[in-house]
Symmetry: C2
Subunit: 365 residues, 2 copies
């Protein structure tokens, strides 16, 4: 078992990573003084529910918690205002009060959705993350919660830190192969933005990681969480440093919005976005090496490094204009300098992005 | 012109009360470093728009602001998730960015709705209150923003303080008589919970206040805001003291939810609720004087002091169970001790509430 802390003063919380943790979930909740006197709402998706809900419920009910379960459909489409409203209705009908907590059992979709419910139910109640995807080593840490608007990703949201991230790595064994790969996209991102040696370690351990070998997996998740926790501790509300976590997300979010929240899963979209950022950096004079290193790493994990030509460029540009990184008519981009180091550049023009998208579609530089 | 400050450290902000302020709204925005480089979204309702939008727009546009206007239907029904989504769409289409601000021109409905948009658009952008009702001396101060759920009032919301409250009392001249009276309900509440001499002053100046005589009006608004600002400064997130502002709101919110957000306007519902609280206090042994004083004050302003018998008691109880003041199977109530002083009591039983509702319907003690 490994424990990290997200250091945010009175809002600090532990990330506990280990095997079989869901079987004793109740103990960890009680340790965070979440009492069994107030009802809980557990939000999950249908796929995760069929695989991993039973042990959590058993632990909670045996400890005297009264739990209402809200099961949403698996997939990015559930990060919508309509589903948000359904979950809210459940919460009200379940009689959640100010001492209640919302639990998210699942990947980033469930975490972001349930977190936004917790952030806004009665103007904010407690929240616990029980991540079940590799990608969620990123999404479950840091308190960004949101739903999507048809026009733009994560547009409606809040900052709302969890009380606890309880990461049972045994759940990851049932992940479909595509989701395993997609999850590593954010892990690679954590290497690319901050830690060249971790990026090198990822490349050297592709096989172990893709096979979910316990030791490599736990180490990778811990390192990924550590980068995320460190950045968030320094800049909770993204006034500066935290923006580096958006590497690949400007183009990535546009791809998700235009392709309709589903064709590409999040990890895939940001893999393409990270390649796009490297292309822009190279066009601005960086050594082509940074593009090649990024590409090699993502390809090794079977992640896409080019964009399907049917995704319309001008629609992507339109979505970009709605993104949170568009400011005073310039686009803010995170660009790689070299592996392990990025910079935030705030004067990227639409034409630079158009060129990068063109290259992404031709897969040629 | 009178200026008060809500004292919340780096989230402090001024409340400016005076005549004709909307004609120079842009100046006040610029003073709060809201720059004309980012677009603004102004949210208002159709009734307010027809009366008071033009001068604000003129001032803003002359100062180089680019403003998108979102006009919702007048009335409590607009405090819904559906209307929230419409306003969000406007905000995205208008290209609001992280430096943008949302302006609320109107009463508490527009303020609460626009405030929740500001709190959640891109996880929070700046917010300015331009109140146009008497009631909004309460709602525009303190940062509670929310929309309603069909099952319970204000259930979906956040704490999000404005940057500025710019209160142009000239707008109040066009208020319908019913809304004038309803607005004084919260002003009376501020006397009842904190300041017996202010309550006495209100009673002594009923005529001047109902006629909106400028001096009495400005003094009343200032004192009302002052009580609210003081309480909020001490307890922004309602961990203790702030709960006293809920006098009358437990029964009041239930009435609004059951009667369907419209039959009673908010100020009327909480007038009845304040009588209900006094009835419970008297049933628990307080001197009947506190009931009689409360009743006299509210009646003097033409506010309802009894409940229409067709509002179903058990439906009210059902709504109460969904309210934010229901905790560990007991109901938390603010009860009067005497005029100017209240206590927070957390063990009120449903039967005590049932009895009070019965008395409210019979208008008999
Ligand atoms: N809040 C943040 O800081 C943050 C950071 C990164 C990503 N995100 C968001 O996270 C989302 C992506 O997260 P995700 O990739 O975890 O998506 P997800 O939650 O949709 O999970 C991916 C798929 O795997 C299934 N699944 C989950 N756990 C499983 C398990 N243990 N076994 C079998 N199947 C399982 C799900 O049902 C789903 O079909 C995106 O919406 C993205 O915007 C948020
Ligand atoms: N956030 C808080 O702390 C807080 C506190 C108290 C009340 N509230 C909320 O405030 C709402 C009630 O506010 P309200 O009474 O201002 O309601 P409102 O905004 O609906 O305004 C009342 C009516 O007056 C009209 N109107 C507004 N200004 C006018 C003007 N100058 N001239 C003519 N007509 C005008 C409106 O169109 C509306 O029909 C409720 O939803 C209540 O829950 C919130
Ligand atoms: Zn991401
Ligand atoms: Zn009120």
């Amino acid at each position: 078992m490994r424990t990290l802390t997200v250091d945010l003063g009175e809002r600090s919380y532990p990330i506990i990573i280990g095997r079989g943790l869901l079987n004793t979930a109740a103990e960890y909740l009680l340790q965070q003084s979440i009492s069994n006197q107030s009802s809980l709402l557990l939000v999950t998706d249908d796929q995760v529910a069929s695989l991993h809900l039973a042990p959590v419920l058993k632990s909670l009910e045996e400890a005297g918690f009264s739990v209402t379960v809200s099961i949403v459909k698996s997939g990015e489409q559930s990060k919508s205002l309509a589903v948000f409203e359904e979950v809210m209705t459940k919460a009200i009908e379940a009689g959640l009060d100010r001492n209640s907590a919302v639990l998210a059992l699942g990947g980033g979709v469930v975490g972001d959705l349930a977190g936004f419910v917790a952030a806004t139910y009665m103007r904010g109640i407690r929240f616990v993350q029980l991540p079940t995807t590799i990608l969620a080593h990123d999404s479950s840490v840091g308190g960004k919660v949101a739903v999507n608007h048809p026009l733009a990703k994560n547009m409606i949201g809040a900052f709302h830190q969890p009380e606890l991230v309880l990461y049972d790595v045994d759940t990851l064994k049932t992940l479909p192969d595509r989701e395993v790969r997609a999850g590593y996209s954010e892990m690679i991102k954590h290497g690319l933005i901050w830690d060249a040696s971790f990026a090198a370690w990822c490349l050297a351990h592709v096989t172990e990681l893709l096979e979910l070998q316990p030791e490599a997996l736990a180490y990778g998740l811990e390192q990924g969480c550590a980068v995320k926790a460190m950045v968030v501790s320094q800049d909770e509300r993204e006034n500066g440093l935290r923006a580096i976590l958006n590497l690949g997300h400007t183009i990535g979010h546009a791809i998700e919005a235009v392709a309709g929240y589903g064709e590409y899963v999040h990890g895939e979209a940001i893999a393409i976005g990270m390649i796009g950022s490297a292309l822009i950096a190279v066009a601005r004079g960086r050594d082509i090496q940074v593009y090649e290193d990024t590409r090699r790493l993502l390809k090794a994990f079977g992640l896409p490094v080019s964009l399907s030509p049917h995704v319309d460029t001008e629609q992507l540009i339109g979505a970009l204009l709605h993104d949170k990184k568009f400011k005073n008519n310039k686009i803010v981009f995170v660009l790689p300098i070299t592996v392990g180091q990025v910079e935030i550049v705030s004067d990227i023009s639409l034409d630079e992005v158009r060129n990068a998208i063109g290259q992404l579609k031709r897969e040629a530089i």
